[in-house]
Symmetry: C2
Subunit: 247 residues, 2 copies
């Protein structure tokens, strides 16, 4: 079953807040992307690159361990990380160790530390709170025991750029919601990054673009019906392989 | 426009959590109730009274001040407070001063302090995070710019016990969601308290009981169509006056 999580709280230091509309998509097989656009960019730098952060990976990039009924650890070695791509100073490199605790309310609390000055120096602890959504719905509908049957019926499709294309990219479709990144190899500037968030609305499966960023954003796949594992789809000249498809 | 808020986070001390399924209903005219049932009561005491807290009041019991575009203060002198009703030791008495800040994400952060040992001693700061819901929906649907037209069309009805009935009670209906308290005067035990949470489902306006507590819970009004301001409705012998009705 794929999951779609909305972040409710981000906290580093004493004061919690949430300035972004963060959705994290996790496919049935564990491929993932977390897209973190600012709701209201505050300055020229945020206007030019209106994302707090984006990261993504396949299930080879994360190790998940169930520690107890309510607690899971996830250790991320992301395939794509916007901070790493841009080689931003004072940002974390390498594995990120996180702990996820299910609250009785249904939300999931994530804690961990990042090491922007390197592992040998003090880490910076963070807290994030996540709300599971019913990804089969075209609104933000909280996942509850009442709609879990609907939520568990969600489709899960993942597209990955093919070797030799000059790009790295992943699109994760969970239910009606798709998120993707596409980064140009050997670029390392904001001009090399592309992101998309789409939503299938209504019964006719019209794919609505909620967010699109980057000069190569027309190279994302945008049709998600009749997709089979192993298919190769082409979008404006770029080839994507379907590495997962549960319909 | 009435509002229905779901609490996402409750924090006293260093660690946030959420053990309750809290909804706060606020009518168009500002009458309110906050019902805070535990999701999983943990001991005999919590089984007997499975609520973290319940409080309610009319718009005479709260003073609201807009401090800036994103910040509002609310000073509560609750009409009903389950801790006060039970005369629980080490719980707050009197006015509670709170500050509400709209986050860019759409959630609302509430901060304040309570004084369980009295005003002359140190207060205990708390943090609560609230998610506005579209109360016209029969699921937990997040209120967003996309559905604000629907949310703003919600009906708002308030019932109040009549004088001389031997009970204090208030039922606040916001959209499809109703919450109420009914407390027996001069009782002061858990046997004197009654609470209800109902939800109108489907097009036929079937009122589904989500939560019911107390031996007099059959005295709550449970029909919310065709209600007019000034009506007096009777429920198993108890009379309720309609003090607000926007349909």
């Amino acid at each position: 079953m794929p999951t779609l999580l909305q972040r409710l709280v981000f906290q580093v230091g004493p004061v919690p807040n949430e300035r972004a509309f963060v959705l994290s998509s996790v496919s049935t097989d564990g491929h993932y992307i977390s897209l973190r656009p600012f709701v209201k960019p505050r300055n020229a730098s945020e206007e030019a690159f209106p994302f707090e952060w984006v990261f993504a990976g396949t299930n080879q990039n994360v190790v998940v361990n169930q520690k107890s009924e309510a607690i899971v650890t996830q250790d991320f070695n992301n395939w794509f990380d916007s901070n790493v791509y841009l080689n931003l100073p004072n940002t974390h490199r390498g594995e990120i160790n996180t702990t996820w605790e299910n609250w009785e309310s249904g939300c999931i609390a994530e804690t961990g530390s990042v090491f922007p000055a390197g592992r040998e120096l003090d880490g910076v602890p963070f807290f994030e709170l996540w709300q599971p959504l019913d990804s089969t719905r075209d609104e933000l509908v909280v996942s509850t025991p009442q709609n879990e049957k609907s939520a568990s019926s969600a489709k899960s499709i993942v597209f990955k750029t093919t070797e030799g294309s000059g790009f790295d990219g992943l699109v994760v479709v969970t239910g009606r919601w798709a998120q993707g990144f596409l980064s140009k190899q050997n670029d390392g500037t904001i001009n090399g990054m592309n992101f998309i968030r789409t939503l299938e609305t209504g019964n006719s499966n019209v794919v609505q673009t909620l967010l699109q960023y980057g000069r190569d954003a027309d190279k994302f796949p945008r049709k998600f019906d009749g997709i089979k594992l192993g298919d190769v789809v082409e979008a404006n000249g770029l080839k994507w392989e379907v590495i997962e498809s549960y319909l």
